[in-house]
Amino acid sequence: MKYVIAVIQPDRLDEVLRRLTEKAIHLVTVSNVVGRGRQRGIAEVYRSHKEAGSLLKKVKLEIAVNNAFVKPAVDAIMEGARTGQVGDGKIFVLELPECIRISTGETGDGAIG
């Protein structure tokens, strides 16, 4: 099992979710986050007071997948989130030692999805 974390542009979320669904990947957790990368933030100005290097709004997806679904998940995110511009985001793939479905107590591969 793998744990896929992707940080993407908020306006690409719908497209990424659509492509994940196409590849039969339904389990996903989404959160609003702020962060920065190479592009750095846009400096904001409030009543002439400049905020240096503010953080940019992003969306974070967390997806637990069985090994066979790692590539489809990564592909879906790449296709949906990519614009070719700086700031498109990143995908991290982590080992996932265990997964438990709370309602039934199932564990491992069967608990995902």
Partner: protein, 452 residues
């Protein structure tokens, strides 16, 4: 406002004069009625307008709550709303009990009203000399809303770091020992600065009484309390600019009551004040974003609403005395001067006037109260005054003196009151409480839940 009162007084003998020229019998009848019972001069239209204007001005305090509330950090939103609602409740009671008497009661040496009208004793439905065509209590209510919002404006300077109990005590003392006397000096019968027996300084709707008064107290607060932790670099930006824009909109809306209502009658002066008010808000809003655009490359919504409020504050003392072009110049001046104060002066002297109560209301009020001595014209309000460009430079001097007196008194008294409240109650929350936020530490509530 004083000018209008005098104008209406002239109308009463004029009307009686017209009748008496008709027939002696009618004249005698009128005379006997006048002698037996006071002529009821209550005018329904005027009364409706004053009551409506009162309700409009009332809405400005919650409007201010959202204007200020949007500008603080999430952890302090409720403290701002709470403080604004508190002045509304607290000062309303103070006004009925003692404030109105101190401000508008029978004069004591030009300095203060007496305590003769304590608890509104003898203040009923018969009109007063202040507003001869509406019930006296309508005037009391209208003025009450001014007394409420003025200490509310000061909140912007000590936001995010003042103890709630200290705030309550300060507001009550400030209303009693600063607002009430200054209102008397300028608007009260016999007050030593105003047109009703004083030096002749004009203040249509509160440039000195409200804006300079609150603005100087705000400066005193920023100086006495010191900066918020982390100011200026580690203070997060405004947490909810939509709230600030909503609040500014409510302020603007209420300002029609504030200024046009100060005519105290449904007449042409009210219309003229309404026009000057709206035009000034619009012009100053534009002025501010043009400056933002030039200096920072982008126009900002916060700049737009700040400019509008600055223009509305600046036109307040002048609204019933100036033409449309006068209002435009006052607004352009307000936009530029307040923008400079907020952009450069505050940064240069490093005081933490957190929400720019001094920079916008203080500076705007000072500019407007001086500017009325430049652009006032009797062509707009025959009961008003002429200013510098209408051939009366003396009025400018009178305005300058009155502005200086108000500034010094409010600043010094506010400092003393802060000192006193600090001694008896402690003014500032602890560092830990400031970090956690006033909502939780002062009120045990949170404005926003994280989940659900």
């Amino acid at each position: 406002m004083g000018g209008v009162i005098r104008r209406n007084w002239w109308l009463i003998p004029a009307c009686l004069g017209l009748w008496s020229s008709g027939s002696d019998a009618v004249a005698q009848e009128v005379a006997s009625i006048t002698a037996a019972t006071p002529v009821s001069t209550i005018n329904a239209s005027d009364t409706v307008w004053v009551l409506l204007a009162t309700a409009l001005v009332m809405l400005m305090t919650p409007g201010l709550a959202f204007f200020y509330g949007g500008l603080v950090r999430k952890k302090n939103i409720l403290s701002i709303l709470m403080q604004c609602f508190t002045v509304m409740c607290l000062i309303s009671v103070q006004w009925v009990l003692v404030g109105y008497s101190l401000s508008f009661g029978p004069d004591l040496g030009g300095i203060t009203g007496s305590l003769d009208w304590l608890g509104l004793k003898g203040v009923g439905m018969a009109p007063s000399s202040y507003a001869p065509t509406v019930p006296h209590q309508a005037f009391v209510l209208f003025q009450m809303m001014f007394a409420v919002i003025t200490p509310g404006l000061i909140i912007g300077a000590f936001a995010e770091r003042m103890k709630f109990a200290a705030f309550c005590l300060f507001s009550l003392l400030w209303a009693t020992f600063v607002y009430d006397p200054v209102a008397h000096w300028i608007w009260g019968n016999g007050g030593f600065l105003g047109v009703l027996g004083g030096k002749g300084a004009v203040d249509f709707a509160g440039g000195m009484v409200v804006h300079i008064n609150a603005g100087m107290a705000a400066l005193a607060a920023a100086v006495f309390l010191g900066r918020r932790q982390g100011y200026p670099h580690a203070i997060s930006p405004p947490h909810n600019l939509p709230f600030a824009a909503l609040g500014a909109s409510l302020l603007w809306f209420g300002w029609f009551g504030f200024n046009a209502g100060s005519a105290l009658a449904a007449n042409s002066v009210a219309v003229s004040a309404f026009m000057a008010t709206h035009v000034a808000g619009a012009v100053a809003g534009i002025t501010w974003i043009v400056l933002d655009w030039i200096k920072f490359g982008k126009p900002t919504i916060l700049g737009m609403i700040t400019g509008a409020v600055a223009g509305l504050a600046a036109v307040t003392p002048a609204s019933g005395f100036v033409s449309i072009s006068g209002a435009v110049w006052i607004a352009v001046g307000a936009g530029i001067i307040c923008w400079i104060a907020v952009t450069f002066t505050k940064a240069r002297f490093k005081y933490d006037d957190s929400l720019d109560a001094f920079g916008v209301h203080g500076i705007g009020g000072i500019w407007g109260s001086i500017a009325v001595g430049i652009w006032a014209t009797k062509a707009v309000n025959p009961a008003g005054v002429d200013g510098l460009i209408y051939g009366n430079p003396a009025q400018l001097l009178i305005q300058l003196k009155a502005v200086a007196v108000t500034m010094v008194y409010s600043f010094v008294m506010s400092l003393l009151l802060f000192k006193f409240v600090d001694m008896v109650a402690g003014l500032r929350v602890s560092e830990h409480e400031e970090r956690i936020g006033l909502d939780l530490t002062q009120h045990r509530e949170s404005g926003y839940t994280v989940i659900d």
